[in-house]
């Protein structure tokens, strides 16, 4: 991908609003996920902080595959970095709204992987009162070595 092609992709992708949607976590999902995460016991109804990421992905209104397709990501795309902010813990049985967008696409050169793009998307989790209770920021690594692009 040439510099001009990258710039065009950047301009097309950055700022893309995700469809968004809602999610709710049932008590059995809390139990099973906490068991799988090897969580210490948490107060009844409160969700492990990893649910900021899980809930944001569940409610963003688009699959990860569809999200990666926006950035013309091909094989080898990897989860690179994650950040979560928790204003208050998420809870079971609450309908949360998710909204967000792709906030950054940056070109990098890796000695091991060659050219690659870092795509960042930011998702807010909003409770039924309209308050933002958590934020999830994800960075995916998209290899751009010749032949690695889906497009």
């Amino acid at each position: 991908m040439s510099d001009a092609e990258f710039q065009a992709l950047h301009d097309r992708v950055v700022g893309t609003q995700l469809p968004g949607g809602t999610f709710i976590v049932a008590e059995y999902e809390r139990w099973l996920s906490h068991d799988a995460l090897q969580s210490p016991p948490l107060p009844e109804g409160l969700l492990h902080p990893v649910w900021v990421l899980l809930g944001a992905l569940r409610g963003m209104g688009i699959t990860l595959g569809e999200l990666m397709a926006i950035a013309e990501a091909g094989e080898g795309t990897m989860f690179g970095e994650t950040e979560l902010e928790q204003v208050e813990p998420l809870r079971t049985g609450v309908v949360y709204l998710v909204r967000g967008s792709i906030t950054q696409l940056a070109r990098r050169e890796s000695r091991k992987m060659g050219p690659m793009d870092l795509m960042t998307f930011r998702l807010e989790i909003v409770d039924p009162t309209g308050a933002v209770v958590a934020v999830s920021v994800q960075v995916f690594i998209i290899p751009r070595r010749s032949g690695a692009n889906a497009a």
Binding site: D35, Q38, L46, H48, P49, T82, E85
Partner: protein
Amino acid sequence: MLRDLGPGSTLPSLAFTVDGPSMKILSLIMRDPNPMHYDPAAVQALGLGDRPINQGTINMAYPINALLRIVDSPAQLKRFACRFQGSLVAGDRVVVSGLVTAVDEETVSLDIWLDREDGGRVLTGSAVLARG
């Protein structure tokens, strides 16, 4: 526990064993169709060994679990960030370590990392905890 920590304090080390069946549960919860988390044959076909590869979400849960053990309430975890640097497979043993970098009236800041017991960094992160 949190109130006893000052700059330079280390977090009590905490070890975990990567559990294959847990990956299957997370795949269902995440609706993640990637077979590398549940099907050893698929992992083998990719030339990545013969054991399922742990989800990044579970890898990041280990250090968060270590943080949850030193607070009174999960509400005290205000921020957690990490960079993924390596993968884990079912059966791997890992250790969480951490170091307090700053303390003020309201928060405790830490660096935190996850290593394989047999060597190799899996992730590096940081966290901010509310003091109470």
